[in-house]
Assembly symmetry: C2
Homo-oligomer: 296 residues x 2
């Protein structure tokens, strides 16, 4: 039977997302808080140099450096590309990792609450989603597992045999909010409890159906031909992560006052609305569909 023997809790992949950094520090000060009987837990602060610089990253986004082909490429030598190789040696190697489950802790400036992001498919993840949602009804389950195979996935959490992201907001970059830290701590505890019960084959009866959001694609801020932003997220959409956007709803406001309407044909559910870290790519939000995770 499948067992989780080694769990890694990773904070500070992004240097200005403080909840994970401080939660890892707390776990290091009081290891019993992340300890369970059936597995070993280690805690890792992934990018202290970016934290010291008070930036998301020094040279490139560490959470985009974990494709197999990139990990194997000695020409990729900048700070985060180097950190990725070190973390892969420390916790992996990806594809044959000594880490059974990697829990990667992140913050967003968007109003997403506590969100469990699954980047791969399978019954282990489905049971975890059902367990977390049952014990934390306000939690959001987000699925992004059918776009890439693990080896092509660039995210840090794909380094483990299993891997998930815990994404909590809203929190401005470079700020530590108690309510957001509490939410992250709560979700991590539920995940650790789930793993313990999973290992002991002692899971409670789980709901057969769990609501989730499946990533479709991202959309960009309005721009002109010169690549300059000419508008912003509409105030009706701001802070309404997971709330439906219907065809014809206003989605952007241009700086000249014009409202831009959503032209899609189906209802979609936005996440990462107006996320600060995505401005470098002019991304306005991610669009999702609502799906159901079913247990057999």
């Amino acid at each position: 039977m499948d067992k989780i023997k080694q769990v890694a809790i990773v904070g500070g992949v992004h240097g200005n997302e403080f909840s994970g950094i401080y939660l890892v520090k707390q776990f290091q000060a009081e290891p019993e808080r992340c300890r369970r009987s059936s597995f070993t837990t280690e805690t890792v602060w992934a990018n202290p140099a970016a934290y010291a610089a008070n930036k998301r990253y020094l040279h490139s986004d560490l959470n985009r450096q974990f494709k197999n082909v990139d990990l194997a490429n000695p020409e990729l030598t900048d700070y985060e590309q180097s950190r990725a190789k070190v973390l892969n040696a420390q916790l992996g190697p990806k594809g044959a990792a000594r880490t059974d489950l990697l829990i990667d802790l992140h913050n967003t400036t968007s109003n997403m609450g506590a969100c469990l992001i699954l980047t791969q498919a399978g019954p282990f993840y489905n049971k975890m989603a059902a367990y977390v949602k049952m014990n934390m009804p306000d939690a959001i389950i987000s699925r992004d597992e059918d776009h890439f195979a693990a080896e092509e996935h660039a995210l840090m959490c794909t380094l483990g045999r299993y891997g998930v992201l815990v994404e909590v907001g809203p929190q401005p970059q470079s700020v530590l909010r108690q309510d957001v830290l509490d939410l992250m701590q709560t979700m991590v505890q539920h995940i650790l409890d789930f793993v313990e019960l999973y290992n002991q084959d002692n899971l409670p009866a789980l709901p057969k159906k769990t609501e989730a959001f499946r990533y479709l694609h991202s959309i960009k801020l309005p721009m002109n031909a010169a690549g300059e932003r000419i508008g912003m997220v509409h105030k009706n959409v701001q802070d309404r992560d997971y709330q439906p956007i219907n065809p014809g709803d206003p989605i952007f406001t241009l700086f000249d006052g014009t409202e831009v309407l959503y032209k899609g044909e189906h209802v979609v559910y936005p996440t990462f609305i107006n996320e600060a870290a995505y401005y470098d790519n002019n991304l306005a939000m991610s669009l999702n569909e609502k799906v159901i995770i079913e247990l057999e």
Copy 2:
């Protein structure tokens, strides 16, 4: 009679506070929106290099470089120290400025709404405060005018013969929110309307008493002897800018769970609660008393 002939609206003193930058861009695209009959308005983007780097500043905080002694010191040569000298030549010189009123636009990550900050005293400011509060009842008037004489004041707005800050939040760093941009635009329009009526000696009847908050001092996050943070702003205080803190109220939560109570002897009113930009100095919030601005 006192007349305001030259107004400067300054955005982007801090590179990751986007509302002022985009409002200045809008005014440059549609100058009639900041034009009035009795004075000339110019718009200035103070620190484009910091915006390009997506940082508050490159080398030092531009909004702390405007003391007379520093402007006159040729040894202060970093990027922002140099920008301050250039802006002083362009809009000043401080003490004999060609700019009659400088309006400096800022964002905070704190839940402060639209806040008019007065850094000097006098009937012009008192009338402006009364006018703005009368026309925008949710606006906050903040006074910080009795701690320094203008020549010792380091803020950019002290460069003008008159100068005020417009501080609007909550907005994460490096994000543009429509609601926050709208608030800033509304407050700036009221200030420009006030100046027009002031110049024309045509002000309406103003309230004799206007509520304001007077800055007392700032307090630091809990730290240990090694200078490491050991706690955070208490969740009961987070987002409650301008709400009273009474002696004995919880104000911080330590990472070990201990609550730290406010030990002052009087009721105080916090502002800039958990402001991201103040973490470099470990500042937790500013404390204020409630005062009344009286017109004669």
